[in-house]
């Protein structure tokens, strides 16, 4: 791996970590699971500036580090499920080249929330969490639009130094 790539990985992963921390400081928004998804800024940025594979590595490293630093073991399953489903959907939409960072990030936000609920349903062996789905569905869409717009600006403005 080239040194410049290592540096780039480290920088974006660190940024994602800081964004996770900043998000944990924000006041909760009423319903559990409703959040802005700030770390997704770094992931969408990596997707557009680097590649899908790079975005996956950065996202998963972030999830593991955040769990080690602030979370607990139980939360890891939810986080990984959310991140994995989100990366898969974002990768697919990104590959079609029909969507900008807004569409990609919206789909990622919704997929992230859906993935977490599905794992929660499986782990708790209950289908009673369906009520959260529409709420998190819509909140994931709104958050995805915001994150998509900002990361679109970032991809355009941050200088690309090879």
């Amino acid at each position: 791996m080239k040194a410049s790539k290592v540096a780039q990985y480290g920088l974006i992963t660190a940024l994602a970590l800081v964004l996770s921390y900043v998000e944990s400081l924000l006041p909760p928004l009423g319903v559990p699971g409703v959040k802005l998804g700030l770390p997704n800024l770094a992931v969408v940025f990596a997707l557009y500036r680097l590649s899908w594979k790079d975005a996956c590595v950065i996202s998963l490293v972030r999830v593991v580090l955040v769990t080690l630093l602030f979370g607990n073991g139980a939360a890891l399953a939810y986080s990984v499920a959310g991140a994995a489903l989100s990366l898969a959907v974002m990768g697919l939409l990104w590959k079609t080249e029909r969507f900008s960072s807004v569409g990609v990030s919206v789909a990622g936000g919704v997929a992230h929330n859906a993935g977490q609920i599905l794992v929660a349903m499986a782990l708790l062996e209950t289908s009673r969490l369906a009520w959260y789905l529409p709420v998190l569905w819509v909140s994931g869409t709104v958050a995805g639009v915001l994150i998509g717009i900002v990361s679109g600006v970032l991809v355009k403005r941050v200088p690309d130094k090879k």
Binding site: P28, V106, A107, E125, R128, W131, V138
Partner: protein, 125 residues
Amino acid sequence: MNWLKSHRNDMLLVAALLVLGGALALFLYVTRETGGYVSVQIDGGAVTEFPIGDNVRVVLGTGEQTNTLVIEDGTARVVEASCPDQICVRQGAVRYAGESIVCLPHRLVITVEGGQRDDVDATVR
């Protein structure tokens, strides 16, 4: 206007997702029914039930992992929890069938179930 044009696909996707989410919410809203009783399950174990018309205050869980469940006025809520995130406490009260309060760290699921139990204490609302 240019932005909207160049982001047509994005807008269509967002609209489609919002419509789908709205439809899902509408479906759940229309099919909702007032709860009959409250079921409590910890760590996938045995289920305990309380009629939602009763006035109940009970401490759930063992050791240091506890949640205090209060049922009154046909609603159920968690008033106290020993977990750090307090998500179940902040969530407030639930009253419709299918609604639930979940405490992930304690693997606790409190669910409002529909229908009436043959119970002397069942209240006519």
